[in-house]
Amino acid sequence: MSALLDVKNLTLQFRTDEGLITAVEDVSFSLNKGEVMGLVGESGSGKSVTAKALMHLNARNAVYGPDSRITLHTERGEVDVLSLRTPRDLKVVRGGAISMIFQEPMASFAPAITIGKQMVEQLQLHGDMSKARAKEISVEMLDRVGISDASQRFDQYAFELSGGMRQRAMIAMALSTKPALLIADEPTTALDVTIQAQVIDLMKDLVDEFHMGIIFITHDLGVVAQTCDRVNVMYLGRLIEEGPVREVIRNPKHPYTQGLIAALPKLDNLDQPLTAVPGDIPSPLERPSGCVFNTRCSQIVGAACTTIGPNAVDLGADHTVACHIYKEVAE
């Protein structure tokens, strides 16, 4: 599998009236072609901000750390995303090599323009093609994502489609430019569960067919288990655990991951009481020192937890965790 994306030491802070707020701290991960990575975290974890950084989409008051590097491996060579400045350069990552789909499909379609027009516009922006050819490709994509009567739907407006269909249309639009990387930001959260299942199946088929990489951002571990090959867990801007999905879900090592899984109501054991992760997520203005999770952790090992930020420890089987409980497997 060849490398598609390398993120190294990504640190992102926002300049606000209240000061510099750290949204993402020292996050590093890589993604291969055809790999589906789940980026899991609750609100305030920084997962959406990380995803937007990949397309250099964050607001102007975003301050990137000096060592932060995002490298995209495209057919035309390597692209250092954070150094892109002009709109022409950015076009490569925005909608070209990287596409993004969002939670609220109504929000990504302009309400007063037909879907078809928007898809054609997207295609023409990113490639040299005639309107007719763009329309052909768009209708093909709409059909491919399972929208019946694709050519009719092409001329419809976003509000005329149901939630599930809008989401499919958005996937069609995102994929029409044949991106190497698809970022899906909570794409199924707003959907009914039976529709969610359909969309998840669709995405899995598309990965097989298009062989693209997907970063699947969600708070739903069940969806991650069903769709992803790898999972990265974030908390308060730090990557606290990552590994193959079977590993992380069956053997969660970080106390937070363990807490998340324990809090999930599971259908196979209805008698088990629900255990919450105690406490509340700290405000980003009051970042805990040391390990960011120490204020809610029930497995504190010592003074290190409150003073030193833990480094990523390799536990073998490609499973890393940032927690003072664990020492290197090799040691």
């Binding site: 939630g163 009914d192 569960v193 969610q196 209805l270």
Partner: protein, 331 residues
């Protein structure tokens, strides 16, 4: 009186839609629902969009008018026929039946302190005689929801989603209701907070003997918290049973599909049996016959013309499907 707290029979809620005098179309959000809720139970109402579950909850609180059938409330002290309740009785009923909203951000008045928000029902309904009594009662109720004096003095925007939901719960409880309808009250919360709020609700049910009607789209949450579950689809009740029974052996094809649609936490548990095709029909254009027939994998001709009735059985496991016995035997 030993009867159920709420007994609804052929309850319907219709909304007239359409301009002009001749094309008045009645949208039946709730259609011919018969169920009963026992005192002190935790009753779950499950469905996707358009199922009518929110409308049913609100109808039982008289927040929307009941246009057909009956709903009877009897808590041992008073008894009301909700469909014809008079103004004076309604005032009393409001003390006994309250609502917790879904959106913790929109449900609290942003310019009132937490203390005032919780005190409002007491003041409006004239339940306390002076400010001191009000304050005491507010403090008592807030303490049960794990809110302290410091919290009471602040404004809602200073709190997280989970805390705001606890404020909502406190407001619903302060009037000492016997019935509380929780409308998707944990849907907007992170998983770890969700467990916390659910545990709080169960605690309150135990300690205060409140009957909860828990409306949700999330089957796993319902499975863990409710004693009895009712499943709705497009305004009709398709299945209702004690929780264990429903989850052990669902009878209606829709219920079965809902289960298989839930993404399992087991990554190897993929490619399960029933994935539903098609979209949920719009409530404006409901199918004839069985409302589910357009997506049912077991549809026969009879389903397209004849609506199945909810058949009660001794075990209290009721299904509305023409073929349920047949399918049960074949399974």
């Amino acid at each position: 009186m030993n009867g159920p707290l709420i007994r609804a029979e052929n309850l319907s809620v219709g909304f007239p839609i359409g301009k002009g005098l001749f094309d008045k179309f009645v949208l039946k959000a709730v259609d011919d629902v018969t169920l009963h809720i026992e005192k002190g139970s935790f009753f779950g109402l499950v469905g996707e969009s358009g199922s009518g579950k929110t409308t049913l909850g609100r109808a039982l609180l008289k927040a929307v008018p009941i246009t057909g059938g009956s709903a009877h409330y009897a808590d041992g002290e008073v008894a009301y026929d909700l469909e014809t309740i008079g103004k004076a009785d309604l005032k009393d009923y409001r003390k006994r039946a309250q609502l917790i909203f879904q959106d913790p951000y929109a449900a609290l008045s942003p310019r009132m302190t937490v203390r005032d928000i919780i005190a409002e029902p007491l003041e409006v309904m004239g339940l306390t005689r002076n400010r001191q009594e009000t304050d005491e009662r507010v403090r008592e109720t807030a303490a049960k929801c794990r809110l302290n004096l410091e919290h009471l003095r602040r404004f809602p925007h200073a709190f997280s989603g989970g805390q705001r939901q606890r404020i909502s719960i406190a407001r619903a409880l302060v009037s000492g209701p016997k019935l509380v309808v929780a409308d998707e009250s944990v849907a907007a919360l992170d998983v770890s907070i969700q467990a916390d709020v659910l545990n709080l609700l169960k605690e309150l049910q135990r300690d205060l003997g409140i009957t909860f009607m828990f409306i949700s789209h999330d089957l796993s949450v319902v499975a863990h918290t409710c004693d009895h579950v009712a499943v709705m689809y497009l305004g009709r009740l398709v299945e209702t049973a004690p929780t264990r029974q429903l989850f052990a052996a669902p009878r209606h094809p829709y219920t079965k599909a809902l289960f298989s649609a839930i993404p399992s936490l087991d990554p190897d548990d993929r490619g399960k049996a029933q994935k539903l095709e098609g979209e949920i029909p719009s409530p404006m254009k409901q199918p004839l016959g069985c409302k589910f027939h357009t997506r049912c994998p077991h549809v026969i001709d009879r389903c397209k013309v004849e609506e199945p009735r909810l058949q009660s059985s001794a075990t209290e496991h009721n299904v509305a499907c023409h073929r349920w016995e047949e399918l049960l035997q074949n399974a």
